[in-house]
C-alpha cells in the first residue's frame, strides 16, 4: 500500500513539474518519468498489457519524438510571460487538491468495490472476441488520422 501511495505522489509531482518547467527538455523528461511511474502502477495492479504499452509507447517512443523535435527546433526569442504564471498555477493546483481531498473523502466509502477478476484470456482475445465493435471504431480513428495527415500536409496544386 505504501509503495502505491509513494508511486502516486511521485506521478503527481513529476506531472506538475512537467507543466511548471520553462525548459522544454526538462519538461519532456519529467513527462517521461511520470509515464514510467504510471506504467509501474499498472503492473502492480495486475494490468501488464496496458503497463507495457504505457512504458514503451508513452514513456519511450513519445519522449524520443519530443526530444528529437526539441533538438531540431532553434531556440527562438524567449517569450516573456507575466510573473503571475509562476505562482497562479501552483495556487490553483493546491486549491484543486484540497477540493479533491474533501470530495474523495465524502465518496470513498460509498463506492462499492468491484470484485477483482483476473483478466479474461489474452489481450488479443479480449480485443477480438469481446470488444469486436471497438475495432471498427479504432479503424475509423486510424483512417481519420491518416487522412488528416494526407489532407493537412498536402501541397496546394498549382492548377487549382
Amino acid at each position: 500500500m505504501i509503495v502505491e501511495i509513494a508511486l502516486l505522489c511521485g506521478l503527481v509531482l513529476f506531472s506538475v513539474a512537467a507543466i511548471i518547467f520553462r525548459d522544454l527538455l526538462k519538461a519532456a523528461i519529467c513527462l517521461a518519468v511520470a509515464s514510467l511511474l504510471l506504467g509501474i502502477i499498472f503492473f502492480r495492479m495486475k494490468a501488464p498489457y496496458i503497463g507495457a504499452f504505457e512504458i514503451s509507447v508513452v514513456a519511450g517512443l513519445i519522449t524520443v519524438l519530443f526530444i528529437t523535435t526539441i533538438a531540431l527546433t532553434k531556440t527562438g526569442g524567449d517569450v516573456r510571460e507575466s510573473k503571475a504564471a509562476s505562482w497562479i498555477f501552483p495556487l490553483v493546483f493546491v486549491v484543486f487538491l484540497v477540493l479533491d481531498f474533501f470530495v474523495m473523502r465524502g465518496l470513498i466509502g460509498k463506492i462499492p468495490a468491484l470484485e477483482a477478476t483476473p483478466e479474461q484470456g489474452t489481450f488479443g482475445e479480449v480485443l477480438w472476441k469481446i470488444r469486436t465493435f471497438d475495432l471498427v471504431g479504432q479503424i475509423g480513428v486510424i483512417f481519420a488520422g491518416v487522412l488528416a495527415v494526407l489532407a493537412l500536409f498536402r501541397k496546394r496544386d498549382k492548377d487549382e
Binding site: F133, G137, G140, F143, A148, E160
Partner: protein, 493 residues
C-alpha cells in the same frame, strides 16, 4: 444490413484516396453522392421495416458465426440516421462545385465520409465505451476538416477545437470509467440496471456532471461553447454545414439524450440542470449573435442558441417536450445547413463574409437570396415554415408543464432570433447594390440545386408537418419516453 451504415462510408473512404489518383474530380463526386443515395435508401427501405418490427438490437453474423458486434436501431436512432443521410446528401451535392478550388478533393470526401461513419456508428452503438470511440472517430475527422483550408485562422481554430474537445473526451472517459467501476458493465442495459441497484447517488451525480461537460461541450451549450464560434466559421462551407447541422447534434445532443434518458434516467435534478443550460445557451448566444458582422459567426452563435431550444425541450422530459425538441433538431439541421451552404455561396462569389461590406446581393444572386430568406424564416419560427411548429410545440410543452418563465423566455428569444436573421437579410441581400458586387454571379449549378433542395424541404416539412411528425419524430420520441419511464423512479436520485 444495418452495419452498412458504418461500413459503407468507411470502405468508400478507404478507396477514395486511390480513386483520387485516377480521377481528380468526377469519380469522387459520383462515388460520394451515390453513397448518400444508398444510405437514404437504406433508411427508407431497411430501417423503417426493422423499427416497425420492433427489432431493437441486431446481432451480427460472419459466415454463420455470431460476431460480437451488436447494433441497436430504434425509432430515435433511425430518425437521426435519416437526418444525417439527408443533410449529408445535400452537403455532398453542394461540395461538387464548391470544393473544386480547395484542391485534393478526394481526401476531403474521404474525411467527410469518415466523419459520417463516426456519426452513424455513434447512432447505433449499445455501450458507453463505444459511444466514446465513435465520438472520437467523428471528432478526429472534423478537426482535420476544420483546418482543411490550411490558412492561419483555420489552423488556429482547429487547434482550439481539438484542445477543448480533448478536455471533453477526457472527462467523458473519466465518467465512463467510474460507471464501469461501480456497475461492472458498459452495456446500456447492464449499466442502467446496475445503477438502479446501487445506492451511490453523489457518485452518479458526479458522473452526470462529467457527462454534461463532455456532451455539453460537443453540443456547444453555453459555458462550454467557446470553440464553436471559431471552428464553425473557419471550416469550408459544406463542413460548417455538417458541423452545425449534424455533428453537434449527433455527438452532443443525441449522446446526451441517449445517456441521460435511456441509461441514467432523467431525474428532476438532471432535468433542471439541462433546462437551465438550454435557456442560458438560448439567451446568451442570441444576444451575442446580434452583435456579429461576420455572417458565418452569426450563424454559428445562432446554432448555439437553437441547440439551447432543443436541450430545453428534451430536458423538460415530458412526451410533448421531447417531441418538440427532436422536431426542432431536425428542422434546425435542415435550415442551418442551408444557411451555412448559402454563406459559402456568398463567400465564393464575393470573397467576403463581412455583412457590412455586402448589400443588394439579392439582385445578383436571386436563388441564394430566396433560399436564405426561407432558411432564416424557418429558424426564426415564422409560419408556415417548419421551425415555427417545432418552437410552438416546445412552448406549448413548457406551458403544459407550468414552466411559465421558460416559455416566456423562449418566446422572447424567438423574437431576437427573427431580428438577427432580418439583419442578415437587410445587410446582405436587400438595399442598394454595392458597386463592388456589380459583376457578381449566381452560384454554380450543383450548389443551387443543393440549397433549393434544402429550402423546399424546409417548406414541405412546415406544410406537411403532421406527416413528418407522425412518420419520423413520434417513433423517436416514443423510444425515448419509454426509456424515461423504465429507468426513472426506481433510481435513488
Amino acid at each position: 444490413m444495418v452495419f452498412l451504415f458504418i461500413a459503407l462510408p468507411l470502405v468508400v473512404a478507404g478507396i477514395l484516396p486511390l480513386v483520387g489518383k485516377i480521377s481528380k474530380k468526377v469519380l469522387p463526386d459520383l462515388l460520394v453522392n451515390s453513397v448518400f443515395v444508398i444510405l437514404l435508401a437504406l433508411v427508407f427501405f431497411e430501417g423503417r421495416g426493422l423499427v416497425a418490427q420492433d427489432a431493437a438490437i441486431k446481432q451480427l453474423f460472419w459466415f454463420g458465426e455470431p460476431l460480437n458486434i451488436r447494433l441497436m436501431l430504434d425509432g430515435f436512432s433511425l430518425f437521426m440516421l435519416f437526418a444525417v443521410s439527408l443533410v449529408g446528401f445535400a452537403i455532398s451535392l453542394f461540395s461538387i462545385d464548391y470544393m473544386d478550388h480547395y484542391g485534393s478533393k478526394a481526401n476531403f470526401y474521404a474525411l467527410f465520409l469518415v466523419m459520417i461513419a463516426g456519426m452513424n456508428g455513434l447512432l447505433l452503438v449499445t455501450d458507453l465505451f463505444q459511444i466514446y470511440i465513435f465520438l472520437e472517430v467523428a471528432a478526429v475527422a472534423s478537426y482535420a476538416l476544420v483546418a482543411f483550408g490550411l490558412g492561419q485562422d483555420e489552423l488556429e481554430a482547429s487547434f482550439k477545437y481539438l484542445m477543448l474537445s480533448a478536455v471533453a473526451s477526457a472527462f467523458l472517459l473519466a465518467g465512463i470509467v467510474i460507471i464501469f467501476g461501480v456497475t461492472g458493465g458498459l452495456d446500456f442495459e447492464t449499466v442502467s440496471q446496475g445503477l438502479r441497484a446501487l445506492d451511490a447517488r453523489y457518485l452518479v451525480g458526479l458522473c452526470a456532471a462529467f457527462f454534461i461537460l463532455g456532451f455539453g461541450l460537443k453540443a456547444a451549450l453555453v459555458p462550454f461553447h467557446a470553440w464553436l464560434p471559431d471552428a464553425h466559421p473557419s471550416a469550408p462551407a459544406p463542413i460548417s454545414a455538417a458541423l452545425s447541422g449534424l455533428l453537434i447534434k449527433v455527438s452532443g445532443v443525441y449522446a446526451l439524450t441517449r445517456v441521460f434518458l435511456n441509461v441514467f434516467g432523467l431525474t428532476p435534478a438532471l432535468s433542471t440542470v439541462l433546462m437551465y443550460l438550454g435557456v442560458i445557451s438560448m439567451v446568451v448566444a442570441a444576444l451575442l449573435a446580434l452583435g456579429q458582422t461576420d455572417i458565418k459567426r452569426m450563424l454559428a452563435y445562432s446554432s448555439i442558441s437553437q441547440v439551447g431550444y432543443i436541450v430545453l425541450g428534451i430536458g423538460l422530459g415530458t412526451p410533448l417536450g421531447i417531441l418538440g425538441g427532436l422536431f426542432h433538431l431536425f428542422n434546425h439541421a435542415l435550415a442551418k445547413s442551408l444557411l451555412f451552404l448559402n454563406s459559402g455561396s456568398i463567400q465564393m462569389s464575393t470573397g467576403t463574409r463581412n455583412l457590412d461590406e455586402m448589400g443588394g446581393l439579392g439582385k445578383r444572386m436571386p436563388v441564394t437570396a430566396g433560399t436564405t430568406l426561407i432558411g432564416s424564416l424557418a429558424i426564426a419560427g415564422v409560419p408556415p415554415l417548419n421551425g415555427f411548429w417545432s418552437k410552438l410545440i416546445i412552448i406549448v410543452a413548457l406551458v403544459q408543464a407550468k414552466q411559465w418563465a421558460f416559455a416566456l423566455i423562449a418566446v422572447l428569444v424567438s423574437v431576437l432570433t427573427l431580428w438577427y436573421y432580418l439583419v442578415i437579410q437587410r445587410k446582405a441581400f436587400f438595399g442598394q447594390l454595392n458597386e463592388r458586387w456589380s459583376a457578381v454571379r449566381e452560384a454554380p449549378f450543383w450548389m443551387t440545386v443543393s440549397t433549393v433542395l434544402l429550402a423546399l424541404l424546409c417548406i414541405a416539412t412546415g406544410i406537411f408537418f403532421a406527416g413528418t411528425v407522425n412518420s419520423w419524430i413520434r417513433p423517436a420520441a416514443d423510444a425515448l419516453v419509454k426509456g424515461v419511464q423504465t429507468t426513472l423512479g426506481s433510481l435513488g436520485f
